[in-house]
């Protein structure tokens, strides 16, 4: 068990490294001419990275048998929510100057913000129900069903990113392919008949 705890510590520390560097750069005024742009982009990118990592856990487990990854899945998801919250806070505080009433019209006016807000609102119930208590209260099955929303959150996040770039769509498309691959993999496993003879193959092991 101590190994698991150490593994969690490693993931936790590394997940906070980008935030530490961002704060350090802000403090030393080394974020370039448009600091808000850097904060917005960095937190947004980190949200997508952690969303992708979260949905990558199951396929990685099944393909490579990396079962210990599941121990950090909740943490990865919560970091996605954490960076997503910082991203939203940056928008509300600096872009909207804490004028919450202006958020509504802005969401309608700027469709990419609608997509981003959708992604965040989808993550919100997942973060709330992330505790062990909530898993018990909801029951494993319905909890798992609810948490499939993470795929929608990831897709909405990618759409949000894709909609706001002007022409260089390579990065949003990369995220898009990753998320689609990870989602497609799950669908494939679900709907493809399991190969019978090789029962030891870890590739299609069901658990």
């Amino acid at each position: 068990m101590t190994n698991v705890r150490f593994f969690k510590t490693v993931v936790f520390v590394n997940a906070l490294v980008p935030l530490a560097l961002l704060v350090l750069d802000l403090y030393r005024k080394q974020v370039g001419p448009n600091p808000l742009d850097v904060v917005t982009k960095t937190t947004g990118m980190l949200t997508l990275i952690f969303l992708s990592l979260t949905v990558a856990v199951t396929p990685l487990r099944k393909i490579f048998g990396l079962n210990s990854l599941v121990k950090v899945r909740r943490m990865l998801g919560l970091f996605a929510f954490f960076y997503g919250s910082l991203h939203l806070l940056t928008y509300i505080s600096f872009d909207r100057a804490f004028n919450l009433l202006s958020v509504g019209p802005d969401v309608v006016k700027r469709p990419f913000i609608l997509a981003g807000m959708t992604s965040f609102l989808l993550m919100l119930p997942l973060a709330i129900t992330s505790t062990n208590k909530m898993v018990k209260r909801l029951g494993g099955k319905s909890w798992a069903r609810l948490h499939r929303l993470v795929y929608l959150a990831a897709i909405a996040g990618v759409v949000h990113f894709w909609m706001l770039v002007k022409s260089d769509t390579r990065l949003p498309l990369t995220f898009g392919f990753i998320v689609l691959f990870l989602l497609g993999y799950r669908l494939l496993v679900k709907y493809m008949p399991a190969p019978q003879p090789d029962t030891n193959s870890s590739l299609f092991r069901r658990d």
């Binding site: 980008p18 100057a97 802005d106």
Partner: protein, 321 residues
């Protein structure tokens, strides 16, 4: 204690070693994450020093402001202007352009002015730098919703066009950026249709506010800002002000323009700054002035309405966005 086998590691040593390994693993992964972050988030590049431009004429302030040749807004610092660039020929990241454009060779350089003119001519850059240079303090509004105030140095485009004598058939002016993937690495990618091209109506091109800039802050232009010579049209979104120009062609019909080719419903030929006409994906009502934290209201024609509104008399600015 004494009968311990030589091969069994002492428990304390074992624990120490494990602690050491763990510390190393933690430090190692954190370092790797740091390096990855630094790689993806480069710090601002060292400023490039340009050559001092001589004999830059400054109009008397009061008259200059009245004619739109200068604004009283606070100037955007040199470091900001040179580290926050949209110049897709070098990089699509605004902070990355300064690095990618470092060492861009701008000699020899020539600008060919041709098409429907009586006296087509290829101008060497050193000849263009001898045009009487003026300072122009203009607002620059990017279509993305940010803005700067830049002290350009240059000369009115009309002075150049007069030299080649446009014929009566000429109604538009087409501009082209250098095409050389060896010097402009992103021209190897398909992010835009290369070379970058832009265009103006002839009366817009002849307008006294339209300049060819060869410098800013009294120095020659840094590569990332469009060295050695670029167009500046202060009442239009920044992408109309084409950089590193090699060809200017007088034509009869509206020429194709790069962003319009890229997304016709998002970027029109005119692209005048207009807070009332939103970009299909975002509002243009406000902008962030680089260096400020809140957002300020965007002005019609970027605040140059008094000087340029007559050019668009009777035109539907929503249709001709």
């Amino acid at each position: 204690m004494q009968d311990k086998s030589e091969n069994v590691t002492d428990k304390q040593v074992y624990l120490n070693r494990r602690l050491f390994m763990r510390a190393a693993a933690l430090a190692g992964t954190a370092t790797a994450t740091t390096l990855l972050y630094r790689r993806l988030n480069p710090r601002p590049a060292e400023p490039v020093k340009g050559d001092k431009l001589q004999e830059v004429v400054q109009a008397p302030q009061e008259a200059a402001i009245k004619q739109g040749l200068a604004v009283t807004d606070q100037l955007t610092p040199f470091d900001a202007i040179t580290n926050y660039n949209n110049f897709y020929e070098f990089d699509t990241s605004k902070q990355g352009v300064a690095y990618a454009a470092k060492g861009f060779v701008t000699r020899p350089w020539a600008v060919s002015v041709e098409g429907l003119v009586n006296k087509p001519k290829v101008f060497d850059i050193d000849e263009l730098l001898k045009f009487p240079l003026e300072q122009r303090i203009y607002r620059l509004r990017c279509v993305e919703g940010w803005s700067m105030v830049i002290p350009w140095v240059g000369f009115p485009l009309s002075k150049l066009l007069e030299k080649v004598e446009p014929t009566s058939a000429a109604r538009y002016v087409a501009f082209q950026t250098l095409l050389d993937p060896n010097r402009m690495p992103y021209q190897r990618t398909g992010v835009l249709d290369w070379p970058y091209v832009e265009g103006l109506r002839l009366d817009e091109a002849m307008h006294p506010l339209t300049i060819m800039a060869t410098g800013m802050y009294d120095e020659t232009l840094p590569p990332q800002d469009g060295a050695p010579i670029r167009l500046v049209v202060p009442w239009k979104y920044g992408f109309k002000s084409i950089k590193s120009v090699v060809k200017i062609t007088l034509v009869a019909d509206e020429p194709p323009t790069t962003w319009n080719i890229q997304a016709p419903d998002e970027y029109g030929f005119y692209s005048n700054v207009n807070p009332n006409v939103p970009h299909p994906r975002w509002s243009q009502a406000t902008e962030r002035r680089i260096g400020e934290y809140g957002r300020r209201n965007t002005l019609l024609f970027n605040g140059y309405g008094e000087q340029v509104a007559h050019l668009y008399q009777g035109m539907d600015l929503v249709k001709n966005f």
